[in-house]
């Protein structure tokens, strides 16, 4: 049963990471790039209107970073719960 408990805790922490990371995923693309773009377009990043930048550049950069953050977090989590594989 210890094993099952371990797995449950691992899963819970995993879900927590997923919620946080997917919220960021949603905010940068659907939030900054689509829903609130008009508001953000009042600000500028170099020659870019900010909302437009998020839609065509920024969200994509964040997506890449998100996956690598996830990879790191999960590798650590795997070690913590002894699910690490060489």
């Amino acid at each position: 049963m210890i094993n099952k408990n371990n797995a449950k805790k691992y899963w819970k922490e995993n879900i927590r990471y997923l919620i946080i990371l997917l919220s960021i995923w949603f905010i940068v693309s659907y939030g900054c790039g689509i829903l609130f773009r008009e508001t953000l377009n009042q600000f500028k990043l170099g020659g870019f209107k900010l909302g437009f930048w998020f839609a065509q550049q920024g969200s994509i950069y964040v997506f890449v970073v998100l996956i690598f953050v996830y990879v790191r977090l999960m590798n650590k989590l795997d070690k913590k719960y002894g699910y690490n594989e060489k």
Partner: protein, 591 residues
């Protein structure tokens, strides 16, 4: 050397490389054929996934589409990259742990039902065939565009190439050719982009150049917005689509990306769960290089185009304009007889393509029969933005040839990946798992090769005789994947209570609704003869965005049905608990 010679040389060299890899990576077992033996490194898998993913449409058409759509083009940029986040976080690690060969394998086992497996196989076939038809056509178009040979022969050459490396090597051959194809296509895409960015803004990095100022000190995007407003177009950085539709299309594309069987299957080829996560990240990184450069190319070429042609005398127009006019991607009609090109908002022609006559006009332009009554005099095909870029920027001939090789690499790699999914669905999911469970590995391998052969022939025929509706629905393959697979897989992993009744009902409702909507609004086969106009769309959702609605309905139906029917058996709950733990994935296998 001329462009033609260069193109033959570079395309010849790249094809020789693909052939060489195909022979080196022959597959000896079904495991090598289906999942490349399960031992592909995350880096190689990342590149292969990127090449598999980026089709002729990404390479040739996307920058052009964005160039004309401005902000609205963002749906493709976010939609076709954001899906990888879902894939990496919600699908890839668990499906890798599950460790079978195909998506229908997972559906069949998780929902303990051969009917569920069959529904999944049918969905996989519908999605893959709609998608692959466009790819074979793309191969034909690149050949005819650059090497001046007939589209039909182009498609046939493409079929033979794909046949060789897919038939011999299966997933193993495809994976390693795709690595080579990725290198070719990304190099071919970046070289002209960097040159042009430097010419226009003095900045070598296109992603930064896009937001920089031109030689006159004005930001390119500000200039483009101003030009657009002056000529009667909508501002480049705004859009014409409704916010809801942008939202819906982006979501449908993202979820569809994560649900495409030829993308998912790639994550079965790496050694373990850890590598599956990492290779999803690498795949997106490799994809992002092209996807963040494309909108920059759009801005550069749009500005270039307007500044070069607007109110210019046809007699003073640069050479590239006339070259592309000769190939039929540009047309100009001097509607007000002033010898100048008026380029403003509105359709220059009636119908989709210009219909040329044999005659030339007063200024030497090709005359067409279907010019419209609107003021706009210029028709420009989307594809020209990438294809003509090297010429517009005055780059050497070998760069132009490189673009041809890159376009071919993009189309061939995607076609190969899709054909493999089709053949696997038939030989593994249908024949091995349902019709003849006791056939040997060798016999299954033979069936896999036979079905890939048949699939290539069918795809080739689609490419040579493109049925009108297939061309219209290629982009909708995403909607179909979103409406069918994605919810069934996600619920299968994250909801232990989900049972076969729920999943099957959800998939059937989702894909039927999506097919119905697509056919109703794209082809007019149901009810009226004409496709219905946008004013009839449900909730103002375009067919491209409808996958989102169908997916939500799929989830609701699955959820409700599952709660009113019997809970899944205990051993299935154990399967789910097991795939949630990353260790002990072992090798992908068929038992």
């Amino acid at each position: 050397m001329g462009v033609q010679t260069w193109t033959w040389i570079i395309v010849g060299i790249t094809f020789a490389i693909y052939f060489g890899i195909a022979i080196w990576a022959r597959a000896g077992s079904t495991k090598e054929f289906y999942v490349a033996g399960g031992g592909v490194s995350p880096l190689a898998n990342g590149m292969a996934t990127a090449a598999d993913w980026m089709s002729a449409a990404s390479f040739i058409s996307m920058a052009g589409i964005i160039s004309f759509a401005g902000y609205d083009g963002s749906v493709y940029l976010m939609g076709w990259t954001g899906g990888y986040v879902l894939l990496a976080l919600l699908l890839a690690p668990y499906l890798r742990k599950f460790g079978k060969f195909t998506v229908p394998d997972f559906i069949g086992d998780r929902y303990y039902s051969n009917s569920a497996r069959t529904v999944a196989v049918i969905c996989a076939l519908i999605v893959s065939f709609t998608y692959v038809a466009g790819q074979m056509r793309g191969v034909g178009i690149v050949f005819s565009q650059f090497l001046q040979i007939d589209i039909v022969y182009g498609v046939i050459i493409g079929m033979i190439i794909v046949l060789v490396f897919a038939f011999l090597g299966g997933m193993k051959g495809i994976t390693y050719t795709q690595v080579a194809q990725y290198c070719v296509l990304i190099f071919a895409f970046m070289v002209p982009a960097i040159f042009i960015s430097f010419q226009m803004t003095g900045n070598l990095i296109p992603q930064i150049g896009m937001g920089s100022a031109g030689q006159d000190g004005v930001y390119l995007l500000d200039k483009l917005d101003r030009l657009h407003t002056e000529l009667g177009f909508k501002e480049y950085t705004s859009g014409t689509k409704s916010t809801w539709d942008v939202f819906a299309i982006t979501l449908a594309l993202m979820v569809g990306t994560a649900g495409l069987p030829h993308v998912i299957v790639r994550f079965f080829t790496v050694p373990n769960v850890k590598d599956a996560r990492k290779s999803a990240g690498l795949a997106l990184l490799f994809i992002a290089i092209l996807y963040t450069t494309a909108p920059a190319i759009s801005v550069f070429s749009r500005t270039n185009l307007i500044e070069t042609v607007s109110n210019t005398n046809y007699s003073e127009i640069p050479e590239w304009f006339k070259n592309w006019e000769n190939t039929g991607l540009i047309s100009w009609t001097d509607k007000n007889n002033d010898g100048k090109i008026q380029y403003v908002s509105g359709n220059a022609i009636d119908g989709k393509k210009p219909i040329y006559t044999e005659k030339r006009g007063a200024h030497g332009e090709r005359l067409i029969t279907n010019s419209s009554t609107q003021i706009n005099e210029l028709y420009v095909d989307n594809d020209i933005m990438v294809l003509a870029n090297p010429e517009i920027a005055g780059l050497p001939n070998w760069v132009i040839a490189l673009v041809a090789a890159g376009g071919l690499a993009a189309a061939l790699s995607t076609a190969a990946g899709l054909l493999l999914v089709i053949s696997t669905s038939i030989s593994h999911d249908l024949i091995k798992k349902q019709l003849k469970p006791d056939i040997s590995d060798k016999a299954e391998l033979m069936w896999a090769r036979v079905s890939i052969f048949v699939a290539i022939v069918i795809a080739g025929l689609f490419g040579i005789y493109p049925p009108g509706f297939v061309a219209a629905v290629v982009a909708l393959a995403f909607g179909l994947a979103a409406a069918s697979f994605f919810p069934a897989i996600i619920l299968g992993i994250f909801d232990t209570r989900m049972n076969k009744e729920g999943a099957i009902a959800g998939m059937i409702v989702g894909i039927t609704l999506m097919l119905f909507y697509m056919i109703r609004f794209k082809t007019g086969l149901i009810g009226v003869m004409e496709p219905l106009p946008a004013s009839e769309w449900w909730f103002g959702t375009s067919p491209e965005g409808f996958g989102t609605v169908a997916m939500i309905l799929n989830v609701l139906v699955s959820f409700v049905v599952s709660r009113f029917t019997k809970a899944p058996p205990k051993n299935v709950v154990e399967i789910v608990e097991n795939i949630r733990i990353p260790s002990g994935a072992g090798e992908a296998s068929s038992h």
